[in-house]
Every structure is written in C-alpha cells, then in structure tokens.
Symmetry: C2
Subunit: 402 residues, 2 copies
C-alpha cells in the first residue's frame, strides 16, 4: 500500500502546486476538501461526488465518536468502506467542537454561534446554555457531555490518533486546544503550549502497529498573536509530522487572517503540505493559495447551497441568491458557461421555484453546482500556478467580483 | 410529432402488458409513475430518475398553478423544459386537492389527513381548520383560496384542459369532483354527474389549435357504490377520451378497492389505457394489474423513503424500517440481490446512521432504492404478463410477504 508523500510540482512566489499521495490515491494541490462531518456530504452521494471530480473528504472524529461510534465503524471495515468512499479521507479531531462546547459555558451559546459561523460550524452547540458546562479540559485530555444523550465522553491525544488509525483515515489531525477572541495572550499561550504537549504525545503513539501508511498532521495554534504563531510553527516544524494544519482564531478580518498565515507559513518546512482548517470562502482562497496553503476544508459551499446561494464569478462575494425576485422568470442557467449538471439541466426560474416550494431537490442541485464551482476553480488555480500565471489569475478574479 | 396511442402486446386474464406512445416517448405498461407534484420528485434529480429507468412522471396542475404559475412555465418553454425532463409527463387536475380543501371545511383537518393519507396526500391541507372554508364548488368550476398567500383562484374544466395544453403535458387529466367516505349515495351521485358534465366540457375544448398530440383522460367517479361506478364507467366509455383514470373514494379496505376496480374496468373499452390515481402500495400493485390497470401513480415510495422505510421483498408489507436497532451494525445492503446504487454502495448500518443523524443524504439514498425497487418490480410484472406467468408471479410475491 502506498505510503503518504508530498511532491511540489511548481511554485510561483509562495504559492505552489503539487501532489499528495495517500494509501487511497492522490490529491492534486491546491485542493478544496468538502466536509463530510458525520460521513456524508450534505445532500450529495459518493457517486455524485465522484461525478464532480472531488478528490478527498474530511470527517470529524468528535461527531463520529458520538454517532455511530468509532468501534462500530472499525468493525464495519473502516471509514472508507462505511461511507462508500474510496478516495482519500482526512479526519479532524474535534478540537474546534471542543472550543465551541467550552465557550458555551463561558460566554453563552449566542456568541459562540456568531464566532463559530466563521469556521462554518454554526449550530454545533446543541442545547448549550450560558453557565452550563458541557466540557472540561485537563492536561490529560478533554471530557465532554454528549449533546445527543447527555452521556459522558473523554478524548485524549492518544485516543484521537488511535481512532484515526482504527478508522483508516489517510490524514489524521492531532487533538488541539482551540482558542477564541475571548482568550487573552496568556490564555492563548497556555492553550498553545498544551497543544504542543498533546502534539508530542500524539507522535509518540504514531505510527502504531496497525498503521497503513497514514499521515499525522500537527496543528499550529497561537490565535491572532504574531509571537505565538511563530513559536507554534517553529515548535511543530521540528517534529516529524507528515504535514501541518493551521487552526484556531485567525483574527477578525480577512486582512488579519492573511497576516496570521504570513507569520506562520515561513516557519513551516517547505517540503511538507499545509492544510487550512475550516476556511474557504471564495474571496479567501486566492490569498490562502498565495500564502502557500496546499489544501483546505470548508462547509460554506454546501451550507450556502442549503440557503439558495450559488457560487458564481461576477457577483459580489461570488454569490447569487436565487430567492431574488429578479430570477422569477429568468430562463438562463446559474452561470452561462458552467457545464455542471445543474446548469446544463435547469434555469434560474426553476431553481428559484424549487427553493420557494422547499423541494428537497433544490438543495441537492445547488450543492452540485457549488462543489463543481469549487473543484473547477481549484483546477484552474493549479493550472495557473504551474504556468506561473497565478498572480494575474488572482487579480483578475478579485477585480471581477462586482 | 408522434401522437398519443396505446398498443396491447399481451394479455393474461384481465392483466395486460402494452405500450403507450406519447409525443415525448413511450411508456411500457403496466407502469409505476413517480409523483413530481411541483415539478420535482422528492430528493431525486432528472438525472437520478433517468439512471433508475423511470419512464414518466406525473405533476399536479393545482400545485403548479399556485406556484410558480401556469403562465410562467408556459413562457419558459413548457413543463418538460422547465423541469429538465424529456420523457412523458402526466398532469393531474387537482380534483383530489379540491376534495381535501372541501373536507377541511366540513370535517376538520384531522379527518382529512387520515383519509387523504390513503392517496398519499397527507399534509396537503395546509392551515385548514374545521369550519373555515377554503373552497366553493359550483357548476362552473372550483373557487379556492391559496394555502400559500390567501389569494383567490378559480379552476374550470376548460381552464384545466387549457393549462395542460399550455404546459405541454402528454397526458392531461380532466377536472373532477372527488368524494369521500363522508359523502352518502346522493351526494356521491351528484358529484359524479357534475364530473360527467365537466368531462364533456373538457372534451369540447380538446384538442385545441395548440395541441401537440397530447391525450385527454376522463376520470371515473362514483365512490364505493357499484351502481355509480358502473354508470360512470359506461358514461365515460361512450366519449372519445384517449384513456381513463379511476379516482375518488375506493372503499375502506383492499378488498373494497379491488371490488371498485372489478365493477369499473369491464365497462371501459379494452383498447384504451387505464390509470389508477394515487394508489400503489406494493401489496396493491398485483391486484390492480390483475384487474387490468395499465399505469398508476403514488407518492408512497418517496414518502416512505423520507421516514427511513425501504421497500423489500420478504418483509411484512414489503417494508424494512432502517431505524430498527437490529440494523445498528448490520454490514449487509438493504437487499442482498439489489443492484441499485444504494445497495451496491452502502450497508444498513451506514443508512441507519444517516437517518439517525438526520443527514439529507439519507432520504436521497432511500428514494433511489425505493424507485429502483418499483421500476424493477414493474419490469418483472411486464415480463411475466407477456409470458402468461403473471398469476403465479403474483401468488409467489404475496405468499413471500412474511
């Protein structure tokens, strides 16, 4: 079985295009990784995803642990088989969910919602009420109460690695402790240092005898503080991770997000792949790639689909809201030049009708378009980086967002 | 453009297999016609349906009139183009919806719900409250108030024919006045006689200069009264309809439903196709076909899918409820010998997980299986009728429901 590897094929400034090889096939980078939190992408089947040339999916250990349980999936032959997905799979640890549960205690559900929407995880804090603790973080790991049935659970760094290996995930993210804008420098530093100790404990468990060429990624923390991001990147870079993810609080604007990447990435080894956790609005992608990000996951394309928002080139924020009255009897497809099944088969008027009458097909057709949009944008980005034309491609897109 | 025609290819008793030709292609009979009330089958795209060899769809004039409006669809190039569906389309008039609205006044929403579930139209009586009239039926037609926005609307038999032709539907059902178990003999007779007068008015408008080889179907009424069903069938049989539908109240048991067919069908011309409106539980199909029904529509396969109920051969009522604890870690597909994409790709354990975590993909995968089940059952029925082996096939299936 192929082991994990990463090859850079071309570079333009800090941007690069390459190929990640995993036991379940390759990922051409830069790549968008759709989110299958509980083992399924919202409203799209593995067959749909294959038809859209999706290269890999990312699942979530926290959610799969709560249902149906890691052991059950393991006994069913692993996560690929359970999901019916044969291509590469990443698994996030749930560090972000842990943050949400923790903040629910300190700050109340509302604020967490507002914050967490930035990472696309709005609505995750089920039943959380201010002052009601759903979580306790200790040096050993994380104890939490299930939002499903109130049962108690525990995650340690070692268990997260073991779960990822048991599930057969190709890329396993270590357990980390996320911070938020509510955490000051000292709190963010303490969480980062614990994340570093957990990273070393994770490596000590990896690879284990059951490994099948899988990869373990360290996660850079440090919030929006330059000193901490640099420290975290330098610390992790010294360890034999197969790649690195950038997580946690990234500031409160696009400019600050770019700054965080700019502080972090120069301290990560050039030869290893870099994943950006939970970020990928269209307007962000160009700067991320320019800073040297290789792949990223984001629920925005499917979540926007659920509200009737289609991703397109020449609109503000790259969005077309189909509920707009202007599309009532518009016979054109969402995008004239888009060859996706939704645009080949259906008019804006029909799609608007489906959304207004709450037909389940509406969300499916929107998700098909949005994932096609993302995959073909990323393919163009890979091509332009290879040709040394990414900078002008980026400027062209950002200028045309009107 | 091909005009409407019907050819019987083989008969076994009253059962027959044949071919309906329409301007948009043929329908091999006996056939199941999935329901696309508002222009879309629940959670399945036209591409999905084509992959499942679905031959035709039935839409609903009442619902399409309320949203997005007949004129809008007409100006968008007709219903086929609007829906992205190239094969035959039937359109029901909404007589049943009219019944539901009327009963909502007389008997209250609850009872209507219980009744209407038999035709698979549960939940259609939006906001109906006992004593609040949403409808007025007169000799001219039906006036009703939109459940969407309270606006007033009117349907006449002539308008229903015109709408069907404007939309380009291949088979148009006339406007009828449905009755219910709450109507006595005299009320049922009066509604039947009005349905007959409306049928003649419909024929007088058909075909019109805009016709494109479409077909108009008369609807037999008469409730569960033998004299009325016979009268209605004989009356309609004398008129030049292209085919006939059987609608309205069919008694309160499977036995009574068969009796209604047995009273009706011998009085309909052998050479014209017969549609059964809104009926098609698996256990009903065999008797319907044995009585000489050529095609039928029913929402049950998609509605059952939405609740996690899969159609299978060897289970009570031909149903497998995936939420059952027994399937928690069952690695088998829904049906071992089923080649549908859901059974080829996914285990019972995964499907149960998707339903329990309310993943939208769950309903889609169940609908794929249930429609595949229906289409392959009908294909087997066509084969066995052609071979003169339908009776034993029927007995085998009904005996194996255990």
């Amino acid at each position: 079985m192929a082991r994990f590897s990463f090859q850079i094929l071309a570079e333009e400034g800090r941007a690069r295009t390459g190929r990640i090889l995993t036991p379940h096939g390759s990922i051409e980078t830069p790549a968008y990784i759709p989110v299958a939190t509980r083992g399924a992408v919202k409203s799209l089947s593995p067959l749909d995803l294959a038809g859209l040339s999706i290269q890999a999916l990312i699942t979530n250990a926290y959610h799969l642990h709560l249902h149906p349980g890691i052991d059950l999936i393991h006994h069913m032959g692993g996560l690929h088989r359970f999901m019916g997905w044969e291509k590469p799979l990443l698994i996030d640890s749930g560090g972000f969910q842990v943050l949400s549960l923790g903040l629910a205690k300190e700050k109340g559900g509302g604020k967490v919602s507002a914050l967490s929407s930035e990472k696309g995880e709005r609505k995750r804090v089920y039943g959380a009420k201010p002052g009601k603790s759903l979580i306790r973080v200790s040096e050993d790991g994380v104890e939490f109460i299930s939002y499903r049935d109130g049962s108690r659970h525990c995650f340690t760094p070692e268990q997260v690695v073991q779960s990822g290996q048991d599930l057969g995930a190709d890329i396993i993210m270590v357990l980390d402790e996320c911070t938020s804008p509510f955490h000051n420098f000292e709190e963010t530093q303490a969480a980062m240092e614990r994340t570093h100790r957990w990273a070393e404990r994770s490596l000590a468990k990896f690879p284990n005898p059951s490994s099948q060429g899988q990869a373990l990624f360290g996660i850079v923390q440090g919030g929006a503080f330059q000193e901490l991001r640099e420290t975290s990147a330098r610390f992790l870079a010294k360890h034999p991770f197969n790649g690195f993810a950038i997580g946690g609080f990234l500031g409160s604007s696009k400019r600050e997000m770019i700054q965080v990447l700019n502080w972090t990435i120069p301290h990560l080894p050039r030869a290893k792949p870099r994943h950006f956790l939970g970020i990928g609005m269209v307007e962000d992608i160009f700067e991320m790639v320019a800073q040297g990000i290789d792949f990223f996951d984001c629920v925005a394309p499917t979540r926007l689909a659920a509200t009737g928002t289609f991703l397109v080139k020449n609109k503000p924020h790259f969005r077309l809201r189909i509920l707009n009255e202007a599309f009532k009897n518009d016979p054109r497809p969402i995008a004239e030049d888009c060859p996706c099944p939704t645009c080949r088969g259906h008019s804006r008027a029909f799609l608007r009708h489906l959304f207004l009458t709450k037909e389940p097909l509406a969300v499916h057709l929107a998700a098909v378009h949005n994932l096609y949009f993302m995959e073909s944008l990323m393919a163009e980005i890979r091509r332009t980086v290879a040709q040394g034309k990414f900078e002008s491609f980026k400027n062209n897109w950002l200028a045309e967002e009107k």
